[in-house]
Amino acid sequence: MTVSRRLAKPFLRALGVLLGAETVTFAAYHLLPGDPAEVSLGVPNPSAELVATTRHEMGLDRPLAVQYVVFLGRLLRGDLGTSYQLHEPVTRVLREQVWATVTLAVAALAIAFAVSVPLAVATAGRRPAMRGLSSGGELLLTSSPSFWIGILLLSLFSFRLGWFPVISGTSVRGLVLPAVTLAVSIIGVLTQVLRDGLERALDEPFTVSARARGTGETMVRLRHGLRHALIPLLTVSGWILGALLGGTVVVETVFSRQGLGRIAATAITSRDLPTVTGVVLVSALVFCVLNLVIDVLYRVVDPRLRTATA
């Protein structure tokens, strides 16, 4: 199989996912009660005439099939339309918001990794007391709601100690608390997955071979165990990162941050179709790209997958 054909398949699949996501958004929007034209006008009790004119301008009086085709045609040209609510092009709205979300998601994942990896390596299959403590703590963190952790952190570090700003804004200092809040909820899952993978790898005969060669315990874990544990870890972190990039409404709200999550939440309640469409498109795109990247990373980590699909 040629390289172009091998690349074509995932590309087409991603296209299918995007089309599917947008179609569902379009359908949901039109199935919900309420009139977008009234929302778009933004005035209380508009006259029936005005509403009718607006409906005509927005193309809402045309048959649904025609609206769908027009909708897809615009998407293909990269024209996401103008937000009904903010009266700004959606592409600009997204561009302004996406950066805040990406920073937050990546920072949160990085913090989670920095804690999870040493924790799992230290406790996998040894130190029963510490392992039990860590595993109990992970369960507690995973099951605590992030808004609550967020509020705890805020009241301690912002209100009482004053180390970090109450309203995050876009500063680096403002990033710390929201990122930690998100990381706390991820750490539990990541550590569990990683420790489980490590323990399975350390049970395999090749680790006995490695030890029989005089390799020390830490090197056995880092060199042999960790790489095997990376495969399930990749799967989980891909999903987590995707979910984070799709917007983290709760944390953005608690810390009054900008971001895709808040935009999406307001857009949905105010029936702002262009904005919702844009957010869905970005989220779906993020998931497709992450999937591709993770597929590639699987092959980097595990040579057996390279030959299997070659």
């Binding site: 005969p205 071979s209 490695a210 060669r213 095997h228 980590v301 040579p303 057996r304």
Partner: protein, 640 residues
């Protein structure tokens, strides 16, 4: 015995100590694992010595404690293991009181360990050179920049062709034999004076096994002390100087290989020797009838008493100590006496070879011109099976032999109609079988049943034995349960196993359950795909006896696929030797094995491990070949 300084490539071999002192000296080694409310004692008092240039083989069935014994030498018996010994000295240095740091130097530096099945014993995510380089760096054998070159040298010395290419490859890209060699290269990288090999050839074909054993013998003659662990006496016969037979954590017999194999003193050694299948003992049972499952003896008596054919009251009450039974020999038995083995006990059940199918009966199964191709990695078609034809008559066992990749399993799948042939046909009872739509074939499927190699993988782990076998039984309710119990009885299992789950069964019990399930719909043909290759010799013997009994009592015909020539020769009436998808030789089993026509068959036979060590013949008869054991695998000589 060649001395340790012969190898010109071996720089300062860690001093083998003053002459007479063994490299390894172990007295009363005991290993215990904490278990639920009690302790498991896999090793209960083992004495071992090993000198440079010597090969000691530890032989025993799985669970005998042989792997735990050798792993505890490197402190690798497991984190929960408690290892105690009166003495455990490596070249005069106590292994038990070593610091963790010193122990890491010993691992790989003084003792190299090679595990079974290199596919899982080499890290699948790293190229083989990384594994060898790891050993070189751990022990600082050469300067960092010389590591890649040394890796290639080591692979070359281990007999790996094209070492530069192989070094860059991953374990899954190498054949089983090459993987095992790479593992040996890694274990020998720091040139340890002792090499421990735990079942190094168990996963390999006969020819590959023979080459690997030869390469280990080369290490031995270069001065390396070899500690070989195996469940198969035949494998170690050609290479071991001394043999220690282990049973339930004790060495029950120990002595020079030639003496021990020709005149075993312990009943268990005799049982192991008798269990080796060959043409000579065809039609005869390989294992004594099992009376009780081998349960550990919690109190006093001899560990082997529950399975011993010569058991007396004394054996049940007092544990025998190791008594000398000849020069350098000892055995743990009250009645130990070196004796030539006789035919196994209970011949009453056996009818000798006559039970051959009558050639005049019509064949049940006729395969003609079967061909099957699969797409290769580059997209081109690769012929897995090429123009294979045969017939199978009632009560006949047709053996299919060949190395892995020769197309044996594809033939089995074509016969089972799990694959459709590209061309050629299979007829069942004279009617179309392969070329008919599946809905028409389904009611006939009960006529052909499969006994798989790995029964564990073919069982739902959540099902009980009653449900696993019951699925294949047409009856319902109580009747079903009675029928299942009857089937279990037929395969020699107690009804008490009905409510067990697969994980709670031993390997032999699982295989018996698989046979019971295959028998449930009363098939005319059993397709057995490597049914005994995952089993110990002694368990294998029982399963082979079972197959022979089924054929005799029920008249079931069998297509018996195996890479083990001894097994095929023991059981089959006719054989088909396959290579690269083609049948290179076929015919009557005796005829093919005694007068192999094709060079490939001759090679396979030559590679077969023999129970008679060659040196026995030389020592006793000045070179004249003599049958010393009567258990030679390769020729059809009758028992003495």
């Amino acid at each position: 015995m060649p001395d340790s300084a012969t190898g010109p490539r071996r720089p300062p071999a860690p001093a083998p100590g003053p002459p007479g002192r063994p490299l390894l000296d172990v007295r009363d080694l005991r290993v215990t694992f904490p278990a639920h409310r009690s302790r498991v004692r896999p090793v209960r008092g083992v004495d071992l010595t090993l000198a440079a240039g010597e090969c000691l083989a530890i032989v025993g069935e799985s669970g005998s404690g042989k792997s735990v014994t050798v792993r505890s030498l490197l402190g690798l018996a497991g984190p929960r293991a408690r290892v105690e010994a009166e003495r455990m000295d490596l070249d005069g240095e106590d292994l038990l009181s070593m610091s963790a740091r010193r122990l890491r130097q010993v691992r790989g530096g003084s003792i190299g360990l090679v595990l079974q099945d290199a596919l899982v014993s080499l890290d699948p995510l790293r190229p083989v050179r990384a594994e060898i380089a790891e050993a070189l760096r751990n022990h600082r054998v050469v300067a960092g920049r010389d590591v890649p070159g040394r890796v290639v040298d080591l692979l070359d010395q281990a007999g790996v062709p094209e070492p530069e290419v192989r070094a860059r490859q991953y374990p899954h890209e190498l054949s089983g034999g090459l993987r095992q060699r790479a593992l040996i290269a890694a274990a020998m990288a720091a040139e340890p004076p002792i090499l421990v090999a735990d079942e190094p050839t168990t996963a390999l074909d006969v020819t590959t096994q023979a080459r690997l054993l030869a390469s280990l013998a080369g290490r031995k003659s270069a001065g390396t002390a070899l500690l070989l662990v195996s469940h198969d006496l035949a494998v170690v016969a050609g290479i071991a100087d001394r043999v220690a037979v282990m049973y339930q954590g004790l060495i029950v017999e120990q002595g020079p290989a030639a003496d021990l194999l020709s005149t075993p003193a312990h009943p268990y050694t005799r049982l192991l020797l008798a269990a080796v299948p060959s043409a000579a003992n065809r039609g005869l049972p390989l294992a004594p009838p099992t009376t009780a499952a081998a349960t550990p003896q919690p109190t006093g008596g001899c560990v082997f008493a529950p399975r011993c054919p010569q058991v007396t009251d004394r054996c049940l009450e007092q544990r025998p100590t190791a008594v000398p039974v000849g020069p350098g020999r000892s055995a743990r038995c009250w009645y130990a006496e070196p004796a030539r083995p006789t035919a196994p006990a209970a011949p009453a059940r056996s009818l000798p070879v006559q039970a051959r199918p009558v050639q005049a009966t019509a064949p049940i199964l006729t395969a003609s011109g079967l061909t099957k191709s699969f797409p290769g990695p580059d997209g081109s078609a690769r012929r897995a099976v090429d123009d294979v034809s045969f017939e199978l008559r009632p009560a006949e066992i047709l053996g299919v032999v060949g190395e892995s990749g020769s197309g044996k399993t594809t033939v089995a799948n074509l016969i089972l109609a799990l694959l459709a042939p590209d061309s050629g046909t299979v007829l069942l009872d004279g009617e179309a079988w392969s070329r008919r739509p599946e809905p028409q074939r389904r009611p006939l499927r009960r006529r052909i049943q499969l006994v798989p190699q790995d029964p564990l993988g073919s069982f739902d782990p959540r099902y009980t034995v009653a449900r696993i076998v019951g699925e294949a039984v047409p009856e319902r309710g109580d009747q079903r349960r009675r029928r299942v119990a009857a089937l279990l009885d037929r395969v020699g299992l107690a009804a008490g196993l009905l409510d067990r789950r697969p994980a709670q069964l031993s390997g032999g019990e699982r295989q018996r359950v698989a046979v019971a399930r295959a028998l449930a719909p009363e098939p005319a043909v059993l397709v057995c795909d490597e049914p005994v290759s995952a089993l110990d010799v002694s368990v294998q013997a029982q399963i082979l006896d079972l197959f022979d009994g089924l054929r005799r009592d029920l008249g079931t015909a069998m297509l018996f696929v195996s890479h083990d020539l001894g097994v095929v020769q023991h059981l089959s009436d006719r054989v088909m030797v396959m290579r690269a998808g083609r049948v290179v030789e076929a015919g009557d089993a005796d005829e093919v094995f005694e007068h192999p026509g094709h060079p490939y068959t001759q090679d396979l036979l030559a590679a077969l491990p023999r129970l008679r060590p060659g040196r026995v013949d030389l020592a006793k008869d000045g070179g004249a070949r003599r049958d010393t054991t009567g258990y030679a695998r390769t020729t059809g000589e009758p028992l003495p």
